[in-house]
Symmetry: C2
Subunit: 693 residues, 2 copies
Amino acid sequence: MPIDSYDSCWLRYEPVDDEELLSSYRDRCEHVYASDSAPELGVVREELNRGLEGLLGRAPHLWNHPPRSADGFLAIGLPDEMRPISETVDTDAVRSLDEDGYRIRSVTWEGVDCTVITAPTDSGLVYGTFHLLRLMSTGQPIDDLDIVEEPANANRLINHWDNPFRGKVERGYAGPSIFDWERLPDLRQRYFDYARLLASVGINGVVVNNVNTKIPSREGANEAVSRRAGWQLLESDNLEKVEALASVFRRYGIKTYLSVNFASPMLVGDLETADPLDADVEAWWERKVDEVYETVPDFGGFVVKADSEGQTGPYDYDRDHAEGANVIARALEPHGGRVWWRAFVYGSHEDRAVQAYNTFEPLDGEFHDNVTVQIKNGPIDFQPREPISTLFGAMPETDLGCELQITQEYTGQNVHACYHVPQWKEVLEFDTYADGEGTPVKDLLADREGQGIAGVGVVGDDPNWTGHYLAQANLYGYGRLIWDPDLTSEEISEEWIRQTFGGDSTVVETVNEILMNSWDASIDYHTGSIGLMHMMYNGSAALENHYDPSPEEWPEYHGASEDGIGLDRTSSGSDYTGQYREPLASRYEDPETCPEELLLFFHHLPWEHELADGTTVVQRLYDNFFAGVEAVKELRAQWHTLEGEIDDRRYRHVADRFDEHVLQAERWRDTIVSFFYDYSGVPDEDGRVPLEA
Amino acid sequence: MPIDSYDSCWLRYEPVDDEELLSSYRDRCEHVYASDSAPELGVVREELNRGLEGLLGRAPHLWNHPPRSADGFLAIGLPDEMRPISETVDTDAVRSLDEDGYRIRSVTWEGVDCTVITAPTDSGLVYGTFHLLRLMSTGQPIDDLDIVEEPANANRLINHWDNPFRGKVERGYAGPSIFDWERLPDLRQRYFDYARLLASVGINGVVVNNVNTKIPSREGANEAVSRRAGWQLLESDNLEKVEALASVFRRYGIKTYLSVNFASPMLVGDLETADPLDADVEAWWERKVDEVYETVPDFGGFVVKADSEGQTGPYDYDRDHAEGANVIARALEPHGGRVWWRAFVYGSHEDRAVQAYNTFEPLDGEFHDNVTVQIKNGPIDFQPREPISTLFGAMPETDLGCELQITQEYTGQNVHACYHVPQWKEVLEFDTYADGEGTPVKDLLADREGQGIAGVGVVGDDPNWTGHYLAQANLYGYGRLIWDPDLTSEEISEEWIRQTFGGDSTVVETVNEILMNSWDASIDYHTGSIGLMHMMYNGSAALENHYDPSPEEWPEYHGASEDGIGLDRTSSGSDYTGQYREPLASRYEDPETCPEELLLFFHHLPWEHELADGTTVVQRLYDNFFAGVEAVKELRAQWHTLEGEIDDRRYRHVADRFDEHVLQAERWRDTIVSFFYDYSGVPDEDGRVPLEA
């Protein structure tokens, strides 16, 4: 049978096969009383129809009043609009929940068993509905629920690095953009299904275009591309296209944002300057933003990448980043919009690691109230493992956002399996000591209206959305984790597996083990596990760039020389250590106390420097790279045990990718260990290096 | 209403609105008697059901015997299997038609008006069916038909430059590959619809993967990619995927071919060499080819790109191209397969133009019977206009194929409108003087079983298949022209327009004028019209490569200097002229007799050299580039007159692309005329150059 449709990911709603659960679900959900006062309730009804029909084998009865005949029903609405709700839950408490929060409670109302979903806002009702459907999709009992949920982070964004028109996605490994700008405002069904996937895991904002609003300069292509017709989505003709997408996302409580170029007054407008202190520039931004809000009334705001990788910025006018961000922020303020200003700036010749802090820390307190400074989790660039950015905790007077990368730029580009939730978990749990011991990143970000987390998007037009089926777990896990950073990586992966591959215990355990072991393996064969960074090929072919090994290209990132390897970022070097608070600064400063997994990031050490267990640096690296390949082979072997246990289509697709994964991990190992041997001249104790010709 | 489906191109089968035609079509086609003896008749029935239901508003009645009740019917079958056919047409004449030929005739049988479609082979019946449907789709009368059709070219191929897995298409400007190798053997509906599009215009062979079976080397990426798992489709695991595609194409009379790497015995097999004279290599090819035919019984053969752009070839073993091709040909011969051996080889430092001839002409007669040498239309590389390759007519003892490019690598990459049929027509009508005056390329290629034409594919997964809606005309026109090179460009474009946009005379005339003027405009703003080549940017970003102007990069192609411009390819230069037969050689040798449109290809001339009309070279170039931009603006203006005349979706999409087309044509003009001015120092007579700052 020919197939052209796309995967439904974790929203499969497969029939419940446990008879007992099925009947209890039916008792509670066959009848649904949902007020129709709120627009989002249209979405709630649609999802319940789809979900319950799939799970329970029949569509629910939908009521606009309490179904007297039924001996159980599901009631969904705002606190005061329906008696089964107002008479069974503390409506004041519900009204006081954070935005997007909700309550799900099993109650008895007029002698009837009811399940109530209520929230202070419509969006909370949407999240509550997906929560209940998730419980059923993962086989949880629902007859005695008392759930109160509030998101830890106010802003939960996806940053699409999708280029408008001709649809290329920077760092996209799942086909072209799902956003078809030339055909917009015509809508694709796929936009609605994407919004469903995002809302089901709590995402509430989507930046629909690339932060590189000019293609980074390469031999003169820059001007050509930046001037392409329609490239700038702020052009008046394009705003109706933006509103068309927003009209879809809006129904799911998701706000639409745009990346804009700092030089828009010149690129889109006809000004001669983009100087943030120029009155005409200020006026231009005001007019343009007013126009945007006339078209997209609930528009979220702008993301700006300035003074980085060839993008224009305030430095071009001798202004600082606060001055650059504030002119745009002032224009957005009356409409309630925000500027997300990226802190990923480099270009000077000093160590990249120290630049973001040196640029932004002095500006703490200078940014307008509706500016969020968006900081990558680490100081380099989404490496398999990095130390945490020193900016977290360093700007108390500024709203901060943490930028994570969902797409696998440096971890196998969605051809390799790599479950990133454990990595993000490590970032969010990291103790910054900003307010003394016990100030993890997650607490610094939480509970501030202007803060949140932004993830670089992962989906494309591929039938499975993410290129690798297992990479769907990263999109799912990203949303779940930033809603509730206290969830464990396993809790999240198990939720995902049960909804995606079903509840068979062997399948759940096997896939869970594959996911949970995949990140460590990726670290081992990409960088080793003692703190090396970026040895990726930097050619410009889409698949090869940052995919293949090329250590010779990057001395500035690994510092390999005949006398040793690693970079001195202590006080005797670039002094990145000095940007941390105590006791972190001292801990990283001393190779004896520096955590081994970051050792070579902070220290240049002799090849034969002895680690705590007596192993030398070079030997540990050899061991890591060989272990990484063995781990990947084990992942593949585990996947092979699933043949026949899951549908053949997904089984084969992932099996194919594991073949490439193993082959590529071997290339990494062979290339990098040979590189180490060339510099160190030290053979492997187990005789594996030098490699046999 | 959300849309996710793809365009039906010229197979729309819109309802016939002319009442008179409609009733005559119904009289003749409401009843269809199609024997079910032949497998292809399944396809014939499917297409008639779809086509007639669309055109006539109701599906036909299908019979397995003559429908006595009907007072008219359509009879389709091989000559002898049905009385309405055997008793009304000369069956011997039909049996003696060339392969793929067919006859359509209006007859009276037993007092009933019948239309007969018959052919010596099943594929002829498929082509005949599409022919009849085309007549109705273009509003032609069908009540007095007597059509005999035979294809001019035996082999009518599409070369897909699609890379297996991860689906990138080299020179593809319409999204990723439609072939989803990871999901194959699962079939997509799109494969069937692609086969329908191809069969409807007479294509009978598809090469499903890139001739670059290793990604061309760029900073070491080569090895990485060539070793990727599954990259080589000859790997045993992949053959079932090839057969899955073949099973679709087969039903439409289309054979499936593969591009293979000359080093396959090493890349796919485990030999240490690919030396064509090595006995193990010969045996390896035999075994592998046997395996291919066990899986794909009607497999067409191999395309090989050797010793070019980083691909391995016989030169690596000090063998010549005949020795290289023949070892593979011998393996294919018992199965009736062919080798298509590309003559696009360069690498030495001599003028690229002379290399193909110098390499292949001496080998005439050395190639095995089932080898076809595939020659690009010109000596450089699919430039907007090139002289015709000197190899045509130079290898009488060798089967030749002509390679044309359907995708618009050098003519705006399917973002610009450029109708290529007039260009191909120029190629096929070119008189080579091989057997004295009156030996056009089309005659050299025609009527030889081992010859034909191969076009570099243009489709991708974009909803409109070709990126630009108007580029569908190039796929349509390619098939129609190589079936019958005597068709005019206008006849072909009008057929296409009527089937694609309907028969409204304003629409037909306007679109026809746009198409017919688009190629000249493209020549004018890309190269000027006096024979310059390749001034395209050669960066590696997919959209920019060969899209943007970059004249400084390519001195070897345009020869610009302070004293003049153009390249000396006469006897005093690279002597490419000497490779032509007389009187061509002398004609090109002398700037006075050299056709102006090729002047600077053959001659380096002073900037102020006077052309026939007294204009100087540099002034003519200025005039061309400015005229080209004006012409594109006129194309856009003409398109704008169609607003409301055609559906809004296609109107807007093309209108958007014309905006980019104009902007890009202006960039070309400004960049190139400034470049000319920098070298010549000669201002434009009309004061347009130097440009105002």
